[in-house]
Symmetry: C2
Subunit: 354 residues, 2 copies
């Protein structure tokens, strides 16, 4: 297959050739020691990536699977929850919680806008039955990064369990699980970690683990209590995506050898470089992520058409808006195996269309 386009979407991303090579290693049996070593190393890398001492679990599933795992393992029917949402993926928390019969209160902000902490605090204080807060580190649909540190301080002060979807931003935007008082966090392989899609993961601290033991929602494939039992031998309860895990292990090792903070810096530099080159355009988010740039279309321009033209003419794939934002924004991912020169080229091309 000829390469049809280079991916500048906010995930999945271009994978380094060295990580791809990992996929052709001999298949290990998942009940053998060699596999256990691989799994145990990967879990330790993830602990460093999240900056946590909590438990870490690796799932054979997309990121949404990890989000559902959070809900199933924490929440029971009729539980009171708060969702702080500012886009499509915040809304996914709400939808998930509804499916499991939770009551959902909400601080919902317009796409691209960050809610003030005071408003979040007021909402929590006026509804003291809330047990869990669900929110998003980096909203892939708008390119906004949230003030998780601020939300974590409130959650801690008010004694709530804070659950963060870090699927998009992890590795690109600053994130400290323990220091920022985040109790549960989930991520996926195909974003800033530049691995093939198919694996997601989550971390959970002692305080939230108590809720896992008590939660009454039906769960099996994502039942963390079962994963916990198998982890005593560094195994997974079911056949994992073994080859994908090789590439993921490799990518994490590469990142961790230089430190997570270097990865954050790299993404920050990419974002600055790209935006400087792009010049005078209007951005959607008030607090932009380093993982992606989201550009508002000028009056009379339609993003869907522009994206199609750029794909056909330059073999560069950008992302359209989702749902109500379709045609109105262009989303450009800065994650994965991309060179600065490529980013500058994309900015230069885009400029001509805006």
């Amino acid at each position: 297959m000829r390469k049809p386009y280079t991916l500048f979407v906010p995930g999945p991303v271009e994978i380094p050739p060295r990580a791809i090579k990992e996929l052709s290693k001999p298949l290990l049996y998942h009940r053998e020691e060699k596999f256990s070593r691989l799994l145990s190393e990967t879990i330790n890398y993830l602990r460093l990536l999240f900056f946590t001492r909590g438990k870490v679990f690796i799932l054979t599933a997309s990121g949404t699977g990890a989000m559902e795992a959070c809900v199933q393992n924490l929440v029971s029917r009729y539980d009171r929850t708060l969702v702080i949402s500012y886009g499509v993926f915040g809304e996914r928390w709400k939808e998930l919680l509804w499916r499991y019969g939770a009551y959902v209160d909400e601080v919902a902000y317009p796409y691209g806008k960050s809610p003030p902490l005071a408003e979040i605090e007021r909402k929590i204080r006026t509804n003291d039955e809330i047990k869990f807060i669900f929110t998003t580190l980096t909203e892939t649909s708008t390119g906004m990064v949230a003030n998780i540190k601020g939300i974590g301080e409130i959650a801690k002060r008010e004694g709530k369990i804070l659950v963060v979807d870090a699927i998009c931003g992890l590795g690109a935007d600053e994130f400290y699980m323990d220091k920022w008082n985040v109790d549960v966090v989930c991520g996926a392989s195909q974003k800033a970690l530049a691995s093939p899609p198919g694996i997601s993961f989550l971390a959970i601290n002692e305080k939230a683990w108590e809720a896992v033991e008590k939660a009454k929602s039906p769960r099996f494939y994502f039942d963390l209590r079962n994963y916990e039992r198998f982890l005593t031998n560094y195994q997974t309860p079911y056949t994992p995506a073994i080859l994908t895990l090789y590439a993921f292990h490799y990518s994490l090792k590469r990142v961790l050898s230089q430190g997570v903070k270097k990865l954050w810096r790299e993404h920050k530099e990419r974002a600055s470089l790209f935006r400087a080159q792009l010049g005078d355009v209007e951005y959607l988010p008030d607090s932009p992520s380093n993982a992606l740039t989201v550009i508002k279309m000028p009056e009379g321009k339609e993003s869907t058409k522009i994206i199609k033209e750029i794909k056909e003419r330059y073999k560069i794939l950008l992302s359209d808006g989702q749902k109500t934002l379709k045609g109105k924004i262009i989303r450009v991912g800065h994650m994965g195996n991309l060179k600065k020169a490529q980013l500058l080229k994309v900015a230069a091309i885009l400029k001509r269309y805006l």
Copy 2:
């Protein structure tokens, strides 16, 4: 990584080098036409593999994920179900159904023994509230293949929905979904289809789809109604395991170009050859599968020790028994990229230890 051993376990299996090569193809974006074509072809191949005109769904999950998808999408709390079980994976259906609050009646037979159809029929007739029957085509824990055709006739006659876990046997043991009156069936990538683990799939007919629309169990990541909506454009609702899907697509294409029946014949030949070479040993199942051979240990021999020795001495990996069968049986898989000469060698080696 040096190859630590060749896999003769009943999945995951050795993958053909050509399928591994597929994993290094450029990553397609899952919202693009080229990916849709890949997905649509894969679904059509699966339809041929299952011998069905039903709907087919591909999941990024292990086989157990597909089993849970069957339960979530069909069964509501307090539903009456029947599990026909003869091993660890039959018991998994029971466990899953309990988690979702279903009532489970059971025809449970000792490991390796096939229940007579008359007993299954009697059980169904004496409990006419049963709506769903759950069973297993090939029980990986015992090497037994079930009489699904016979069970299907009863299910049809009695107006029940029949759900079959074909994760292990599919492609190795005969199976006709529509002709045998199976309403729902699930499978996985890493068995007779010789693909990397990480993908599972299921097929469902019109009659069972009515139950999907009515079922009240909480579900999101595996919600088939959502997959159905996205399939109108041949997309998946969440980022799929794109690279793994390339290898899976390749393997299915290869199988289908020669016909499923040829694959069954190949596995039957492998099983006969292996068992002929093995000579006079005692087998666990009364109705052995073509996917694997399960040997009972003679008096005074312990399988765990023998498996360890064969692994260390010959770099050949065999499977021990699970749960109560640990130490008492050896399970040898015949699936995947294995040559006849290799199978004969394994049989010759095993003979010396028995």
